[in-house]
Amino acid sequence: MITLDKDPPHVEELKRLLPGPQAYRAYISKWLVNVNDACIDCGICAEVCPFGVHERKEGDLHLSAPKSQRCIGEACETQDFYCVKHCPVDAITIQKNPLAEVLGNPRWTNEMIMATWVMAETGKAPERGLEYRIGRAGGGFDLLDFDFPPSKRRYDPESLTGIDTSLPLNRRGTGAKIEIPIPWYGGGMSFGSVSLQIMLARAIAATAWNTFTSTGEGGYPEELVPYKDHVITQVATGMFGVREETVQRARLVEIKYAQGAKPGLGGHLLGDKNTPVVAKMRETVAGTSLFSPFPFHSVYSVEDHRKHVDWIRAMNPTALVSAKVSTPTDVDMVAVGCYYAGVNIVHLDGGYGGTGAAPDISKKNIAMPIEFAVPKVHKFLEKEGIRDEVVLMASGGIRTAWDAAKAIALGADGVILGTADLIAVGCVLCGNCESGRGCPWGITTTDPELSQLIQPEWGAQKISNMYRAWQLELREVLARLNLDSVKDLRGRTDLLVRIPNGPSPSGGVAKW
């Protein structure tokens, strides 16, 4: 059995904003501040820097090592408080951190990753110096912006508590009424693809925020039971660990048909990561690669799909049912089929979503990105007159609160997060999740030693902090658009503009 160092914390603790410090000593920062041996510890730099890059700890003779992650770099050169200019012995140099040139990619730019770390640490978006609202992929969300009415007013996001960000997850006449206070919840990441610690961290954060996280298709570890009201049981094609009791204890059950990163292929868990504990949970043989079938062999039509939904409801009559589907050209018809099968939530997973392991060819080339699928489905459901009976959730490449807001403006009700949660706990998107011992940071691993690198309560704090930052960002967007509720943003494509020339795809990404 898996053992945790100590009991998970009280959820009430997490509702407060606590710092989520980084686990490691060195930061991967945009700028690198160096202080050489000429330094005479005069402390002028500590006095001038408003961001706290330079610091002398109470009672210390020497200045602390500079905190490069707080530096705003080039933008500072013209300011009065530029430390390099003030240093009497010219001991300070500021340069671009070469690490930034090997971090990130056009979708998740290095600044977006660093900004997510800042959010996870402080519960607020970085004040300046990092462009986190838009990526450099040159399409989709990165070519869209909001058409804010001109206004000189500056909003303090913390004071916008009157703006409603809640989302009801059941729009049908029957069944339980569940409302989440933020328009997002966590997507499926299985036990096996990620560690138990990460699953717990996500479940604790979901409980603190009264939203959800999903088990993924690898079974329902007993350790998650205390948080069962906020854990979605996923029923995927592999049926790993799906039992009557796991379906019965969930308030929301997700039937996974396909995943955006590998549409039409079924889950992949390579042999290295199928450790004895994982194998026991999945009732398989340790060390074998597990490739889930595709599709459900019991589902070859909408009627069969309906049968599946009924089967869930027979076991758990009060559960809401979600269908997770990918984005083929006929995604609109698929969504209508899901409606007729009786689901409450249609979950579209776009092609650029995350994964624990997927063939590279399927990540780019099969099925369309979420940005195209959402408006297509939204318009079609409206035409059919059933838009207000289903909740449309978008996932697969939602990186920031801005992406979430854009997805909602394109027609989704809310979004589902996966990769963003992991970046909050320290993922660097190196992509080494699939084999060997798994993640070197202890996130997507089942290695008993590596998984100890993450403590669930610490991870939960970081995710919770990021959610807080996202909520503030979302509220600011809504305020600037003069909207009182996120529900009013849905389908408001009139509030969006297309940027003819988006940010260049060459900067902000690893150089290859």
Binding site: A26, P106, G139, G264, Y300, A358, P359, S362, T493, W512
Partner: protein, 459 residues
């Protein structure tokens, strides 16, 4: 007749010089030789010196998988990662550094590249990048995830497929030759190959049960047992002497070219192919090919033409026109279309077939996996010397075989995801593809465009 399952014999064939993405830089003025990095690295980049274990060895850059953990754990900030210029500047055109690295990985093991985390490239783009294949949500005739792929056929026919049997003409009829993989290896396109490359590619073609295309100049160098799997690209005046080859290929020129009718008559039982370069493409070429009754139209281009993205776009438009014209004439099955040129990655194979080809001909990709620079230097491989001779022919053969297996397996992934059971049905199926410009118009068409003067708000 006994049933034989098609099998590609893959085996490990490690790269002679593996690509290195980053330089792991150790600042010796800071390093304490504490060894924290040895424990933090899962991939064995860091180690102590064998001769003197008090000191750290130079990091083994090529093992680095850019996870940053050693950097974050180093107690004195002595470690840094920097992009390896040799890698970042390698390649040209469609052969971007990451494409070259993927090719090398495919050729090493013959496996499908599988990684974790999300797609890490630009949103879409021009050329092949602005295109996605469809998938099928539930309808799946024979497929069960990756299981059941052995029931998906990748066989294609070379030559005309008659719409009906004709008993009245009386003459002998040569049935189309079926090859088990929709790939033909083209070493004639980049120029005359060095002897090692010629030997490796012709051997690989035989092992794969497909054909290779070689220039006539190289024909004397082909060993007799390989001749039957070789298509010879001929120039004027060299039309005879290739009876033992699987077939010959003449190049189309608008005004005066090889007399195709005569060539067809001279070699009734061989494959006759008409090579139509992008630069001289016109519909007359199709008419000429159909009239002479050639088996194969080989649509290709000079590498320089598709070095820029405009060239790739033109290539795609032209291929669609070629296919569309044959369909218009109701003659699509009277000839097989082989498309070569800008084929640099596994995803280009299904995409080219969707655009209208029956078969795909990689050329420069073969040189890339054999770590050789092609004769006309069309591929910039960075650190490889100008003439990196291929002396180990079995190694080169294995690399090509591995690459083709990886590409075929990835084609199977696409076919499986699309719910298709044979590659023949993928041909020209543009309805099962998503094109970025169309999809973007549909999704974002009602969103106003911001006046270009106003920049993106960057705080």
């Amino acid at each position: 007749m006994t049933f034989k399952r098609y099998h590609i014999p893959i085996a490990p064939a490690p790269s002679r010089r593996p690509w290195t993405r980053v330089d792991v830089h150790r600042d010796l003025s800071r390093c304490l030789n504490c060894g924290t990095c040895i424990d933090s690295c899962l991939y064995g980049v860091h180690d102590r010196r064998d001769a003197d274990t008090r000191f750290m060895e130079e990091p083994e850059d090529h093992l680095c998988r850019v996870c940053f953990r050693c950097v974050a754990e180093c107690p004195v900030n002595a470690l840094s990662l920097e992009p390896n210029v040799e890698f970042t500047e390698a390649g040209n055109g469609l052969f971007k550094p990451e494409v070259l690295r993927t090719l090398a990985n495919e050729a090493e093991a013959g496996w499908i590249p599988v990684t974790g985390a999300c797609y890490r490239g630009p949103f879409g783009g021009q050329g092949f990048d602005g295109m996605w294949t469809d998938m099928s949500e539930i309808v799946r005739p024979t497929r069960d995830g990756i299981h059941g792929r052995e029931y998906i056929s990748t066989s294609v026919d070379v030559g005309a497929r008659p719409t009906h049997l004709d008993f009245r003409s009386g003459g002998p009829w040569t049935p189309p030759r079926e090859i088990p993989i929709p790939l033909i290896l083209d070493v004639a396109n980049p120029g005359t190959p060095p002897a090692g490359v010629l030997a490796a590619v012709t051997r690989a073609a035989k092992a794969l049960e497909t054909y290779s295309i070689i220039p006539a100049k190289s024909w004397p160098g082909v060993s007799p047992e390989l001749q039957a799997s070789v298509l010879v690209r001929i120039a004027e005046g060299e039309v005879t002497g290739f009876e033992k080859a699987a077939g010959v290929e003449a190049t189309y020129r608008h005004d005066d070219g090889v007399d195709l009718v005569a060539l067809r008559r001279a070699l009734p039982h061989s494959i006759v192919s008409l090579r139509v370069p992008l630069s001289s493409y016109d519909r007359d070429a199709m008419d000429m090919a159909l009239e002479a009754g050639v088996d194969l139209i080989h649509f290709t281009c000079d590498w320089k033409e598709v070095d820029g993205i405009d060239g790739v776009n033109r290539y795609i438009r032209t291929l669609r026109d070629l296919h569309g014209y044959l369909v218009e004439l109701s003659k699509r099955d009277a000839v097989t279309v082989l498309a070569g040129g800008p084929i640099a990655a596994a995803e280009h194979v299904p995409k080219t077939i969707i655009l209208g080809a029956d078969l795909v001909a990689p050329d420069l990709a073969l040189y890339a996996v054999m770590e050789c620079v092609p004769p006309n230097h069309a591929l910039h491989l960075g650190r490889f010397p100008e003439e990196f001779p291929l002396s180990d022919v079995p190694w080169g053969t294995q690399r090509v075989v591995n690459l083709m297996n990886a590409w075929r397996d990835q084609l199977l992934e696409i076919l499986g995801a699309m719910g298709m059971r044979e590659v023949r049905r993928l041909r020209g199926e543009t309805g099962r593809a998503i094109f970025q410009d169309e999809a973007e118009r549909e999704a974002f068409g009602d969103i106003k465009v911001r006046a270009p003067a106003k920049e993106v708000v960057v705080r």
